[in-house]
């Protein structure tokens, strides 16, 4: 069977806790179900289980931090693209200035 099938099988083990549990319960049956060769099934039976769990945890953390970053980057990009219409901008600016001027305006000379 092809190397791509083995990679796909490993990818599923890395991201899916249920797939890992099923595989751990019966490695040969699960790898045969995935269509892997006899040689590949035998190799997977000797898998480094501790390494698999640690790698899966590490990949999960990476995916989580990427999701956070992606969300933040999307928000930042959206905010940076926001453009207020000019009249709104000026209106806001002028009304603030008027307000300030009113507050700080000196009394006219008598």
């Amino acid at each position: 069977m092809s190397a791509s099938q083995l990679e796909a099988f490993l990818a599923r083990l890395y991201v899916d806790a249920d797939a890992r549990a099923n595989f751990k319960a019966d490695p040969r049956a699960e790898s045969q179900k995935a269509g892997l060769s006899e040689e590949q099934c035998a190799a997977l039976e000797k898998l480094d289980w501790i390494g698999l769990e640690m790698a899966a945890r590490s990949f999960a953390r990476k995916r989580q931090s990427k999701r956070r970053l992606t969300w933040f980057a999307a928000l930042k990009a959206r905010l940076s693209r926001l453009r207020f219409p000019r009249f709104v901008h000026y209106g806001f600016y002028n009304s603030r200035n008027n307000l300030k001027r009113k507050k700080t305006s000196r009394p006219k000379n008598p």
Binding site: A3, L6, E7, L10, A11, L44, I50, L52, A55, K66
Partner: protein, 289 residues
Amino acid sequence: MNYLTDRVGLGWRPDLAVGILEHLDGIDLLEVIADDFFSAPHRQIRALKTLAAQIPVVLHGVSLGLASSVPVETKRLDQMARLFDQIRPEFWSEHLAFVRAGGIEIGHLAAPPRSSASVDAAASNLHRAQAAVGAKPLVENIATLIDPPASTLSESDWIAGILSSSDCSLLLDLHNVLANGLNHGYNPIEFVRKIPPERITAIHIAGGKFVSAPDGTQRLLDDHFHDVPDPVFDLLEETAARAPSPLTVILERDGDYPSMDSLLAQIVQARCALAKGRARRAQTVEVLA
């Protein structure tokens, strides 16, 4: 630096931007994560071009998956090609890893089973990448917490096979060598000695932490959140003593950022290790002559 043009630089990260720009005289070059700019707005590309005009810049990819058994998607190669054209870096690099398979995104770099089939697949992807981008990538060895199952080749033989079939140079990540050596029971110095020295042109140095395994043992995680440990500097000295080409060393730091002074001190320490290695190499060359 005292050997040809060995250089030591730093990985560009937005959190370090101010410190880097204030200390450009102490940094020989910057490595930029290419994927961060694939869909960046024009003004960010302009800013990157401005940066590249001030200091040599190299691009580093993290998501192509060049060691995958299936061909890399054209769309991803095109993104790298476009950025390469815009920035004109000194070189670009990617990892010998697969990051997706069967429609599943793993989210990080995974080690493929090491076999002659995966050597051929990686070489084919590297040829496609070269054709798309217009320049050969440097390829980087990765750290892995699990020794890839169904492997028939040692890591050093697998890497040497890919370098030979693709005619690419190696970006040797020394912390990854240290981590894999400790986690999978081989001597990191011996590993460096097995890599064809003429292929090594760039180096990554970084730090990681030990994490506890469920069986009570510990494994070294390459998280780039810690200072570069001494064994990595020892490996750098060993590499400099063997590699005939000028070396470009990049210090990688991805979080828990220390002061800029601390990062600059690690750059200086890398220069010292390079100088020591080059002195050893000069002595060996003299003896052989």
